[in-house]
Symmetry: C2
Subunit: 356 residues, 2 copies
């Protein structure tokens, strides 16, 4: 029991300080860091030999690694983890920095998609790593109301208003002539039978009315239902956009073209598989903690934000394990807050364009 207590304490303050310095040096330089450098950074209060002993301990405990004997030390994933959990000081953003974030958030409020793309670019530029961003709908959407407008005898316009206050319209081309007078009736039918229903329910109800209405009308209805299904599905579609992937090439760990290629094509083609935060506001995944093979030796910081009441968004950054966690985390949460605010502010106003 005494031993297990020791296990909890585990690291002396000095070891912790040294580990912190190693991590931060390594983050800065991407080079294994030696005992001398640490000793210097500790203000000469101890000699490099002492540091060497400590480093040796830390290595044995698995917090540090050596690329080879007689090289300096670099943090292991376990070391980064401890750093992130306990050693890292939550970085306070300077006023200038905060200002910069807010500046980047002066986004043109276009469609959601474009807005996200803009935001992704802004984040990537800010943290200087590749970023990804997406929006997911929390609650499922339904069509709240249908309208039909006559254009001519073979065309009409279907207008749908969804439960999340978006409006979508669609030109319907009718195979069979439908009298203009029938349209209001059709609209009524739609509203009474198909409003507030899931796509599955809709198609079922469509079957039910099949023999109660005339063929023209039925065709019209089924077109309408299929449009409705489209718009509902579309609302649930989770699109992820990535930005700034080429920044990888500036990092020493991706000087190797093959390695860079692997990650970049992952970011381009498999973005759906990028990590999403499960519960927490912010999650940091270090190297092998990532499930996806392509991310095994990169780290990901991902935060979530709110889009109005029924949507959540996620915004993440991908970088080398050596990434500057404190800086990225601070900026990312600043950004997430900003986005939440941005969308909150607009809650009174419906989104200017329907998200597609």
């Amino acid at each position: 029991m005494g031993g297990s207590l020791e296990g909890v304490v585990e690291l002396s303050d000095r070891k912790r300080q040294i580990l912190k310095l190693v991590v931060e040096d390594y983050i800065r330089t991407a080079e294994p860091v030696g005992s001398k450098a640490i000793a210097a950074e500790m203000g000469g209060s101890v000699s490099s030999a002492t540091i060497r002993n400590e480093l040796s301990d830390l290595t044995e405990m698995g917090y540090l690694e050596q690329p080879h004997t007689s090289a300096g030390r670099m943090p292991s994933p376990k070391g980064y983890r401890l750093y992130v959990n306990e050693l890292m000081e939550a970085q306070r953003l300077s006023l200038a920095e905060t200002e910069k974030i807010n500046q980047s958030l002066q986004l043109k409020m276009e469609e959601l998609d474009r807005l996200l793309a803009q935001a992704g670019r802004a984040v990537s530029a800010l943290v200087r790593y590749p970023a990804y961003i997406s929006a997911v709908r929390k609650t499922s959407v339904t069509v709240r109301r249908f309208e039909l407008l006559a254009v001519d005898e073979r065309n009409c316009i279907l207008v749908m208003m969804t439960s999340d206050s978006r409006v979508k319209s669609q030109l319907l081309r009718m195979q069979l002539k439908v009298e203009a007078e029938q349209l209001p009736m059709a609209a009524n039918l739609l509203n009474s039978h198909f409003a507030n229903a899931s796509p599955a329910e809709m198609s079922q109800r469509l079957m039910n009315v099949a023999d109660q209405v005339n063929p023209q009308l039925f065709l019209l209805l089924s077109q309408a239902v299929s449009c409705a299904a489209d718009i509902l599905e579309e609302a649930d579609r989770r699109e992820i956009v990535t930005a700034g992937a080429s920044r990888l090439l500036k990092l020493p760990e991706f000087r190797d073209a093959d390695k860079a290629h692997e990650l970049m094509s992952f970011l381009a083609d498999s973005k759906e598989e990028l990590p999403q935060p499960l519960h927490r506001e912010m999650e940091i995944l270090i190297g092998p903690e990532n499930v996806k093979e392509a991310l095994k030796d990169t780290s990901v910081v991902v935060a979530s934000y709110d889009i109005g009441d029924d949507m959540r968004g996620l915004i993440g950054v991908v970088g080398p394990t050596r990434m500057d966690y404190a800086a990225v985390a601070a900026r990312l949460s600043g950004f997430a807050e900003g986005l939440t605010r941005l969308f909150g502010k607009q809650e009174e106003l419906p989104p200017k364009e329907e998200p597609k």
Copy 2:
């Protein structure tokens, strides 16, 4: 005059054949090609010494370059140009290849944006170089008809049908109550005064009616006009999507991370500045023929296709100057034709989703 005629003929058949072989060898291997290799490829009918003389001539004439004395020859931009203009045999696609193109064109017909993104990926995958694609509107669009639907006393839906048969709707939140009965009147006003007008005309006419209608109505009208301006502007917006940029990293000429980075960030951030074909169906820009600095030592092949009657699209491929022009050109024109057909087929049907 005799001299100028000579200038036109300029190259003996054998020189042309040799140039062709050099270009094709270099395209394949990315290595300077020597006299011996050429001699072998010509079937031993001449010796390598002869080839050397010819190569020396071609070099002097500026069609070939030597990275240094006693290295093989590689084509200069001028050499590529001659190759593309006169030597390259239009590559006929195999049936399998054609099939593959058509296969890739089995695109899910979603919105235009997404469809283009898909097509871009397909092209990039096919030619194994980065690709870019966009759609531009040829003729300017106007709103052909307005409709207003009441939702409640503070909200109504504005539905607009454009001259290119798209339909766009928008929830309007009104600052002042407007009686439901007024809506049809407002719609009439919109249709009579603002239909088929450019945004500039619309805002001018809005001023004209300012003192002829009551304030509520005026507010409503100005909101509608601003929505209309949005949708018209949006229709003209030219969005370019790029795909497959990471393929660059597989090419020997981009093993250098800095060079790759330069081009990749250009593709990501400045895609608006990628070349567009001016008049012709297909255009090939070789190395320094490109205006943009970032493209000076890459080549671009770009083709255009038609989207229905009033839109044109462009689809291009970026690669090293050493790119396989014949193969890329053949595939690209196959693709452009396919896209034209794809959009042509759907002309009867309006686009399923309004392009945004």
